[in-house]
Symmetry: C2
Subunit: 402 residues, 2 copies
Amino acid sequence: MRKLPRKVQIVFEPDGLRSNVNPGVTILEAAKICGIKIRSECGGHGFCGKCKVIAKTPEGLTSLSEREKELLSNQEIKKGYRLACQAYIKGNTVIYVPEESRITKRKTLIEGVMQEVEISPLVEKFYIIIPKPSLQDLRTDFDRMTESLKDIYNLEGLEIPLELLKTLPLKLRDADWKVTATIWNRKRIISVEPGNTTQKLYGIAIDIGTSKIIGYLVNLLGGKVVATHFIENPQIIYGEDIISRISHVMKNPQTLEEIHSLAIKAINEIILKCCEKAGIEQTDIYEAVVVGNTAMHHFFLNINPKYLALSPYVPAIGNSVNVEARELKINICPHGNVHVLPVIADFVGADAVGDILATKIFEAEKICLTIDIGTNTEIVLGNKDELFTTSCASGPAFEGMH
Amino acid sequence: MRKLPRKVQIVFEPDGLRSNVNPGVTILEAAKICGIKIRSECGGHGFCGKCKVIAKTPEGLTSLSEREKELLSNQEIKKGYRLACQAYIKGNTVIYVPEESRITKRKTLIEGVMQEVEISPLVEKFYIIIPKPSLQDLRTDFDRMTESLKDIYNLEGLEIPLELLKTLPLKLRDADWKVTATIWNRKRIISVEPGNTTQKLYGIAIDIGTSKIIGYLVNLLGGKVVATHFIENPQIIYGEDIISRISHVMKNPQTLEEIHSLAIKAINEIILKCCEKAGIEQTDIYEAVVVGNTAMHHFFLNINPKYLALSPYVPAIGNSVNVEARELKINICPHGNVHVLPVIADFVGADAVGDILATKIFEAEKICLTIDIGTNTEIVLGNKDELFTTSCASGPAFEGMH
């Protein structure tokens, strides 16, 4: 007679809750033991199909039941979906519980202390009426536009991306030479729009957490936050912590692209939702500022994070990074700027830099302590003279997850 | 009885030769009248299939003969190929004679007056041995590379494209921290290669003529031209002169992308051929410098040239343009720079600027005249004090075509 193992381990993601259970119980029963409330309108009889979960380790479960074959689409089966009431646990297993299958929504903290800041965005809009070309004025389209910007606003040495230049001749004429130029950092023209659109200027701040991603849509004329939205970091299917996700890339470098794309997709969803809430277009956003811990930073920029997990743990880059939105496929104004804050070290990322800037601890006279509690917690100690920082894992519970 | 028109016009491209012929003659016979020698090994009996030409206006010809259906592939038929001995002219028609169907190759002038110039390329290579990271030296990969470049070569404030940064961690470690950085304009890192590759540094100069495109591959260590290659400008299928090609875009703006791509494809073929002749890799080329008349300039950059043909004839941009090679899909080092010389006016392009730079007429004491004879001819008159320039059509004959 073959001996069954006495107990097997089940882990529920993204909560990070786990339990040792007897083999032979259903996922639904195991979830109850862990305190996770999965929808089950039919009472666990396999009729309602509401208890969908994703099996990350199918080998720990019994094979698909007839009920599951009926109620799940082929695409869902391919993605590893199971019905929690129909799948029995036979070995160690990891289960992802999607948002739609939960009774209680997870809690997330998206508000914080407000601090007065001076609004001085790097993106600015300038309305100009450009003299039309004539046989007496044969200046090129680019010259007549930039010279108008110089005459009226004293802007000099402006650059333009080729993609935007390509559209310029038609754009200027279609707008009857009355346009609004959006300029980044007083040096790069990132958009040319017909008419006077100077009253529409938005930016978005994105915080990529290990567990969740939050966006704050800001009206850059005044600085008011006009919409926020968050979603769970979909990278969680590659592990709930940073090290698991990095391990995936170390085992298979091809995974990097997928983990990177998940972040981009999530950010684009947040941008779309924020714009819907605020009633604006995505292209009305001209700059995105992104923070995250060093691993999230590398994944966002599609940089291999392998060496963050290997001694002596050095990041690829510490400086801030500016990239055109279209290059990262971030759905804002295509030539808008994506500004990624610098990272301090392997374990203290751009999120901590964000904390330092937001709390203005770098201007404090007295010694202060800034604590950013998340899946990882960063602390910054010091004042205007010197700052010390470090971080360590605190677990998802501290991020308002439970 | 229906009256046939007495004479119909046939135009042969890319030569620009035309004749009025009686309807009912074959293309082969008409070509003889014009002095164009088309291959016809079987003596015009439709056996050898060597007299292939492309009908740009099929309605001016009799329909496909059985012989043609046999000897031409489906793909060729789709592209409008005909056998010159089998297709009879019944109306006005335009015929393109490809290189492979000619007995006499067209003549092209690709050599010119040599002038001593000082070689001072904007791309430079720097070999560095970078200190490896350790628990005592936790600098990021980017910092340790750029700080080495600063310590040894005094290079400061260097930028790196994100695409290149992404590959940096693995590249540095695979090369055991001994790499050659290629830097453009002392500000932008465009390539990082393992080991010492400072002895390989090439540039390419491209002249996009209305009728032909020429490339000169230059060893930037010394300035020697190591290979040249030219091909007929394939845009000729949209007309042998600038105005015809612009008209195509005016009629159908979608054509722009196609006319643009034809130039890019031709340039990539030239680059490949030059590299084969010189025995180097395409990625050993770090900068391309491009000239052409204003229409060629706009087509190359994929800018709508419509307004070059409409009064008051203003170009989109007059300044020089720098673009990453990968953005224009030019097959050199992907982050290499493509420098497009400025244009002076609608009818005096970057090619004339090239003439001014090459002849150094801008340094002359005495008044000089520079003449650049091509399909269009540009003249520049003046000296170090003042320069005047204009251009007018001279026809393909002057470009060594006949």
